[in-house]
Symmetry: C2
Subunit: 362 residues, 2 copies
């Protein structure tokens, strides 16, 4: 199988995404994107031992160092950001240095934010090693950390110079994390590409069996849809908000359970089902549509229900401090049809409250 490449078109901040097997074994692919003579690799205790040696080889001849973070969303905070910034300072890396994120979404988000802040912005390269990061976190330039009061509340937009998605790294991914990544893949179909949704339904068993060609096609199509949306709306004024389908419900779940109890993708999976359910409540989807969403999410190995113990008030409160709130009005991404999502505040909050009250819990 050959390498697939696509370009995220952002004028002078455009960058390529390369997808395929064995890419970590091709040092020249990486090296062409490093303009200076220094680099800091940011990875974690799970991914580092598996792939760091290959990366060290690719960086031979550069002055470089590695920061290995503890694994998990719990460490995506200002303290960990400080650890990376300290390492950049201690190594006296200048503003022409490159920060390389080797890991999943957490590593990418926090390393990207460090690259955005250090000396007001240094070069950044993403090497995502989870399906979730390959189809989502590594595309679009969003970086940041969590605040105790809310997810991703502190951060920056900072585009990478390139993204290298080596599909071989998915072979070591736990089943549960593969499923979590599939939540975002399903999301892209639901946002605005019915044909991709049909394709996902047909290929779900191959995806879960990690057939490399099928995975690569899913990654490429997801990245293409996201790149197209981000290219048209880099700063999330409107169109880009559609990428939050399922995420406002999902963030409330993650926030209530403490980050890490449910995986992000699991919360998004349930969130997609909730967005479908509330869209039905507003008369936009029919029962068959909603059943289809639930069936697909379940087939991906993801929860379709909300967590027990998170009541309607708890949901609303946690959705209320979400970034999607504009001057007290709650805006949600909902579905007018499968493959046709919209950002809307055109619903009574009371209807949302009733829906959250009625929605099935675990």
């Amino acid at each position: 199988m050959n390498m697939k490449s696509l370009i995220v078109d952002l004028d002078e901040r455009s960058y390529p995404i390369h997808i395929g097997p064995g890419l970590l074994g091709k040092p020249n692919l990486l090296r062409q994107y490093i303009p200076g003579r220094t680099a800091l690799v940011v990875t974690n205790t799970t991914v580092g031992p598996l792939y760091r040696a290959r990366l060290d080889e690719a960086l031979e001849g550069l002055r470089h160092a590695t920061v290995t973070l503890p694994d998990g969303e719990a460490y995506k905070n200002m303290q960990t950001l400080g650890v990376i910034l300290d390492a950049l300072m201690e190594n006296r890396f200048d503003r022409n240095t490159t920060v390389i994120a080797l890991g999943g979404g957490v590593v990418g988000d926090i390393a990207g934010f460090a690259a955005a802040c250090y000396q007001r912005g240094v070069h950044f390269i993403q090497i995502p090693t989870t399906l979730l990061a390959q189809v989502d976190s590594s595309v679009g330039g969003k970086t940041g950390v969590n605040h105790p009061g809310g997810k991703n509340m502190i951060g920056a937009f900072h585009q990478p110079r390139c993204v290298i998605a080596d599909t071989d790294t998915l072979n070591t991914l736990p089943d549960r994390e593969l499923s979590a990544g599939l939540a975002e893949v399903i999301k892209y179909g639901l946002i605005r590409e019915r044909a991709f949704l049909d394709w996902i339904e047909t290929h779900m068993s191959s995806l879960r069996a990690r057939d490399p060609d099928t995975l690569a096609t899913a990654i490429e199509t997801s990245c293409r849809i996201k790149a197209d949306i981000v290219g048209k709306d880099e700063r999330e004024s409107g169109l880009r908000a559609l990428l939050n389908l399922g995420h406002t419900f999902g963030h409330a779940i993650e926030n209530a359970m403490g980050y890490g109890e449910w995986l992000h993708g699991e919360a998004v999976g349930a969130g997609l089902c909730m967005a479908a359910g509330f869209s039905q409540r507003l008369g936009w989807l029919n029962e068959t549509d909603v059943a289809r969403v639930n069936r697909l999410v379940a087939a991906a190995g993801l929860p379709t229900h909300a967590p027990a113990g998170l009541d309607a008030e708890g949901f609303l409160q946690r959705m209320g401090i979400d970034k999607k709130v504009q001057d007290g009005k709650l805006r949600l991404v909902l579905m007018k049809a499968l493959g046709e999502s919209v950002l809307t505040d055109d619903f009574p909050l009371q209807r949302l409250h009733e829906f959250l009250h009625d929605y099935p819990r675990a």
Copy 2:
């Protein structure tokens, strides 16, 4: 005297600077730049008590809160940034909120960085209350905090929606801080406007006597020069680096003395004299030029010497971790002539070492 206004031209991020007396007493001037219904005022314990009430009046009808920081460069760090971010979270301000900096350069830099990071960027307004901030820190979109290992090492570019420079606030400024602001005014003349340099020499006694018309002209001209440079080079690839004239020497002094011992403007004043002296050593300025720079800096009430106890090695080490280092080469802004500065690494480090060794100490 009427209000003077100029526009910093940065395409869709362009913003106005309004300069004049009594501007804090004109609520409509401020309100037109606040798009949402919430605002966070960031000020400090010195400036807050003097002007906060006037600002509260101007914000009537908006949901707003105030964070009052301790006064001083020592608090320009990640911990203080956290205090502002916590306040934004606690008030549940959404991404349409506006952060208003009321104070000097430290308040502006840290409040601007909080505005840049919070939800990946919210609106920002600068109300600088020191001469230094009015002519320098508030123009150009640089925000950030210090790291224990270096000044302004962590930050972002984030443009304000407007800058309101009320010259009345300079009436309460200590003499020493007025002088510190004049260091940057002199810098603008030395960078590339010989006629302005002549004007400053002629008007130095009026400036130090705080004649309001003279001050307003100095602020407007300084802002115009800086706005012109920043407008042509927002991200400091080349031209903008000229604004660092005197600053690489100055940062080394501040770093060695501990931030706060010398005021930033005092270190820049000495730094300007050192830049002139080293330019003479390279054969670019003559003795008369250097004497003129020293006389002007002294007339502003600023030091022309380096601090005792900071030897040549100490200087070099502290200049070596400066942001202006590119892959191990030290680049400095020096003067080809008065009013004609250049960014250059075209000198032997040994010559710099000798110069630093010979330079007068206090």
